[in-house]
């Protein structure tokens, strides 16, 4: 009765093997590495870059463990930090030249797992370490969605104005009220006309008529679907912008994730300088369109023979050439709705811009008067402006127009479009949570966490072996198997391990032994009741199972509650806790039974099992020790 079919042993063996393989990468620790990734969305890191990196490293006289290209970044692992730093300098020089303020590639120091390549080939990766174990800074940012909606309504009000004017529909004023757009009319017919037009042209808004007599109104509010779309778009653009800004910090593995509907988590491992990080994240880049001054005085100022004329400023163009621009601002980035790279009718690369209705009107007026003149697009960052481009106006411009330039390449077009777009956040953001953990504290947390798990495990294992003898050994081995399985599952899921996660591992181990105690006590009890050893083992496992299931269900309910309602560190705890309950059921019931079966199952005439003292009450007590360990 205490025999497993072969397939069950095989299954356990496979589980053991898989557990070993996937836990293994965590044991190798980390090695210094250099990571190369793209600093610009338009620049791709590919195999040619990898070859350049390899070449640079070899030229520097350093031999890397490997140079890998994966998921858009190159990682080169080294034996020691000296080699790493030498290689980093060499790579940075080879890829970015002497450019330090605006590098094309980010070359950052990083840590990668020291695990051998055959494990990596099996997709066995170590767990990620959370910031509390690794050190770094964590921001939780709240996106001001109300502002995003207001902005949308604002631009819609302007668009409606243009639309009605184009169709010659007379209205008595358009205004934004909260997140709604309100239009006044004097007669019913015009209102109906307007309503029909807007219903077709602006499906994002629901238009409701109200009022009577000559005080007629049409109120448009965003449909619930459009609200979600606006918010989604806002958070997406904010995340993209954050990515661009964070790239500048040169962090090897930044994490920028949406959390909930309106929050963004930013985690920067290895960064402790929150002031600088906040400065860069919270930076507001603004875009301004201004006319270029081409007058004689300006030309003189350019050649250095005269002063900069009154009401103008001197900027540098992208190539480095100076340019004199008027102080008066034609348009700001607020009016710019979109910028995309594209092609003009002659198939030359171009940047296609879309401005809102207000912008369109201004552009129309300005461009009509300035055909043949140049207009500069200036990006202000940290209070310093740079002219992105200064095209010549060729004709009257409307709400969408393109910049095409004789020598602009497709690459330059998409770079420019990105610069024009990346400047701003769709909605303002506020830091609502911030955590900084020093690297030494992280190291300390790891050591302490591991120490608690280890010593707890050792204490429990020793106690089990003493108290339950052979069955205690089985229980301890099963507990070890549980730990192995849990680590393997966490590594497979690529979960992020944090200090609460380690605490959960310790707790799970402490709770998992409960199942084995239940089984062992039950087996003892059956022996006490006078059952033959084989039957006692069988009955003990069978009867304990229902109780084990019960107790795990109640623990799991608490774990799921934490998982559902917890956030941040609690979620980490809950994930490990819930997974641990599941693995503990497998290991303490199936695996320990397997061990028992293997050890005792094949003996036909088993006289006794080694499960410690089976004490019998009453006069029979003297015979108790014979039951144990008397084969």
């Amino acid at each position: 009765m205490n025999r497993y079919p072969l397939w069950k042993y095989a299954l356990l063996l496979v589980a053991l093997l898989v557990g070993l393989i996937y836990t293994l990468p965590n044991l190798f620790g980390e090695a210094p590495a250099v990571q190369v990734s793209s600093a610009k969305v338009t620049v791709r890191v590919d195999d040619t870059v990898r070859q350049r990196v390899e070449q640079a490293i070899t030229q520097a006289g350093v031999t890397p463990d490997f140079v890998h290209l994966e998921a858009g970044s190159i990682r080169a692992r080294f034996h020691d930090t000296d080699a790493q730093i030498k290689a980093k300098d060499a790579i940075a020089k080879a890829l970015n030249g002497d450019e330090t303020s605006d590098p094309t590639y980010i070359v950052a120091l990083n840590l990668v797992s020291r695990s051998p390549e055959w494990l990596t080939a099996l997709h066995a990766f170590p767990m990620y370490l959370g910031l509390d174990l690794r050190g770094g800074v964590h921001f939780l940012m709240q996106v001001d969605m109300k502002a995003a909606l207001t902005k949308k309504a604002e631009s819609m009000a302007a668009d409606v104005r243009t639309m009605l004017r184009d169709k010659n529909i007379r209205h008595a004023g358009i205004s934004r009220e909260g997140n709604d757009v309100a239009i006044n009319f004097r007669d019913e017919a015009t209102r109906t006309q307007a309503q029909n037009l807007l219903r077709d042209q602006v499906p994002d808004f629901a238009w409701v008529p109200s009022g009577a007599g000559t005080e007629l109104r049409l109120t448009g509010s965003l449909t619930p679907k459009a609200v979600v779309a606006v918010q989604d778009a806002a958070i997406k653009q904010n995340i993209t912008t954050l990515h661009n800004r964070v790239n500048e910090l040169g962090v090897a593995e930044p994490v920028i994730l949406q959390q909930g509907r309106d929050r963004v988590v930013v985690q920067l491992p290895g960064v402790q300088d929150t002031a600088k990080a906040k400065d860069i994240i919270g930076r507001t880049a603004t875009l301004e369109l201004r006319m270029v001054d081409d007058s004689a005085e300006a030309t003189a100022a350019l050649s250095g023979t005269g002063p900069v004329p009154f009401g103008t400023e001197r900027f540098t163009e992208k190539g480095g050439a100076p340019i004199i621009v008027k102080r008066q601002v034609v348009l700001t980035g607020d009016n710019l709705n979109d910028a995309q790279p594209g092609f003009d009718q002659d198939h030359n690369p171009s940047v296609n811009l879309k401005v809102d209705a207000k912008g369109a009107r201004i552009m129309k007026d300005v461009s009509r008067e300035s055909i043949g003149k140049r207009m500069a697009i200036i990006l202000f960052e940290k209070g310093k402006g740079q002219v992105v481009t200064a095209p010549v106006i060729r004709g009257e411009l409307g709400n969408s127009f393109s910049i095409t330039g004789g020598s602009m390449s497709a690459q330059e077009a998409s770079d420019t479009a990105l610069l024009l777009r990346a400047g701003s956040l769709a909605a303002p953001m506020e830091i609502i949570e911030e955590r900084t953990i020093g690297p030494s504290l992280g190291k300390e947390n790891i050591d302490k966490g591991i120490a608690s798990v280890t010593w707890g495990f050792v204490a429990v294992a020793i106690f089990m072996c003493l108290y339950y003898m052979m069955f205690g050994v089985f229980s301890a081995v099963a507990l070890g198997f549980n730990l192995l399985l849990l680590l393997a599952v966490l590594s497979m899921l690529q979960a992020t391990l944090s200090l609460p996660g380690i605490a959960a591992i310790a707790l799970v181990l402490g709770m998992a032994i409960d199942a084995n105690v239940l089984i062992n006590e039950r087996v003892r009890e059956e022996l006490r009741a006078g059952l033959a050893p084989q039957q006692a083992i069988h009955a003990g496992y069978e009867r304990a199972w229902a109780t084990i299931l019960d107790s795990n269900v109640t623990t799991l309910i608490a774990g799921l509650a934490l998982l559902a309602f917890g956030s941040g560190p609690i979620k980490g705890f809950a994930v490990v806790h819930c997974l641990g309950i599941v693995t503990s059921m497998i290991s303490s019931v199936m695996f320990s039974r397997g061990l028992v079966n293997l050890w005792y199952g094949r003996r036909k005439r088993l006289k006794a099992v080694s499960i410690g003292t089976v004490w019998k009450p009453g006069p029979a007590a003297a015979a108790d020790d014979t039951a144990a360990e008397a084969q």
Binding site: Q142, Q272, I431, I513, D514, E521, A558, G566, I570, G612
Partner: protein
């Protein structure tokens, strides 16, 4: 080895009244402290800023407190954290103060007090990770370091408190439903009362000693709630089994028998779990300290309440043989039932 050589069923229920009175008094004391002293919530719940700095020498807490008090952030707390060199400073949310700059300001004030200057410092750890941080430099020396800082906005705190209440409610209702389904409503009520009384007592300890109640402590409480309910489950399981097996015993004796036959297992499992928790308490450092403390109290009272309180409450509620033995689902498929077929 066998710790428990119990010859006869121990008459636990004879003392049920006294035991329940003890429970009740502890419970009342816990509620009293919760009401009068209140919990010392961590900033995760209240919002605010925490800064941890490590001095090169043993820190002078009073001096540090004085420096930070002068900055006018309102009611601040300065305590040692772990070692004598580590100092933790807690600052509340103050309207009109830009919260995300508080940590930096405090650090630079402390740095200035030590004649230092805050500089951006870039270094590569021995493992080879580059680290950028603000350091307080006096020449080449570094009198203090910022080891950790945390900032929580007020809205987050309110949300967390809400989520915590939801998690507790979900756990309680889930466990009650499960117990009601698995046994009977009287057991469900008894089990949950017994274990909620543990929760209140843990909270009472935290209120009395003014230990910091953080999210980790909350997680520990919920985990221990699920864990000690299973203790009650084991005993209830035995009660049901004994009701079937021993038809002559009355409820009183049945419960005594059930508790006596599970007491060995109860103490050993809790002992093993406690060994793990103790190891966390000893080696886990200050971050895991209160987590382990909450677990320790929870485990100790868990034994007490599931053994003495839960069964007694079930008894007061009037659990009868008929409640359990006629019970449907568990009964039908149970091959081990010695009375199978014998019930009318």
């Amino acid at each position: 080895m066998e710790f428990f050589r119990i010859k006869r069923d121990i008459p636990f229920m004879k003392h049920a009244l006294i035991l329940n009175a003890v429970s009740f008094l502890t419970f009342i004391a816990a509620v009293f402290f919760l009401v009068t002293k209140g919990l010392h919530f961590s900033i995760e719940f209240t919002g605010g800023t925490v800064v941890e700095v490590q001095y090169a020498q043993a820190a002078d807490i009073n001096r540090t407190r004085h420096i930070v008090e002068q900055m006018g952030f309102g009611e601040i707390q300065v305590t040692n954290f772990g070692t004598a060199r580590d100092v933790m400073i807690r600052l509340p949310i103050k309207p009109g103060v830009k919260q995300d700059q508080v940590a930096g300001q405090v650090f630079s004030a402390l740095c200035k007090a030590d004649q230092g200057q805050v500089v951006a410092h870039k270094e590569v750890t021995p493992q080879g990770e580059s680290v950028e941080r603000q350091a307080c430099a006096v020449g080449a020396a570094e009198p203090l370091k910022m080891t950790r800082s945390e900032l929580v906005g007020p809205s987050v705190g309110a949300e967390l408190a809400h989520d915590a209440a939801m998690a507790l409610g979900f756990t309680v209702i889930g466990i009650m439903l499960y117990l009601a389904f698995r046994f009977e409503w009287k057991f469900a009520v008894a089990g949950i009362i017994a274990n909620l009384h543990d929760v209140v007592i843990i909270l009472g300890f935290f209120a009395y000693f003014q230990w910091e109640f953080s999210l980790a402590v909350l997680a520990a409480i919920l985990a221990v709630l699920g864990y000690s309910v299973n203790e009650s489950v084991v005993i209830f399981d035995r009660i049901r089994e004994a009701f079937r097996k021993y038809r002559k015993l009355n409820t009183h004796e049945i419960i005594d028998h059930a508790i006596t036959s599970t007491i060995s297992r109860t103490i050993i499992t809790h002992g093993s779990t406690q060994m793990m928790v103790l190891s966390m308490l000893l080696f886990g450092g200050p971050t895991l300290h209160y987590f382990a403390v909450a677990l320790t109290i929870g485990i100790l009272f868990g034994i007490y309440s599931s053994v003495f309180v839960a069964a007694a409450i079930a008894m007061w509620l009037g659990v009868k043989r008929e409640d359990l033995v006629k019970a449907g689902p568990a009964k039908q498929g149970d091959p081990d039932d010695p009375n199978a077929g014998a019930v009318v």
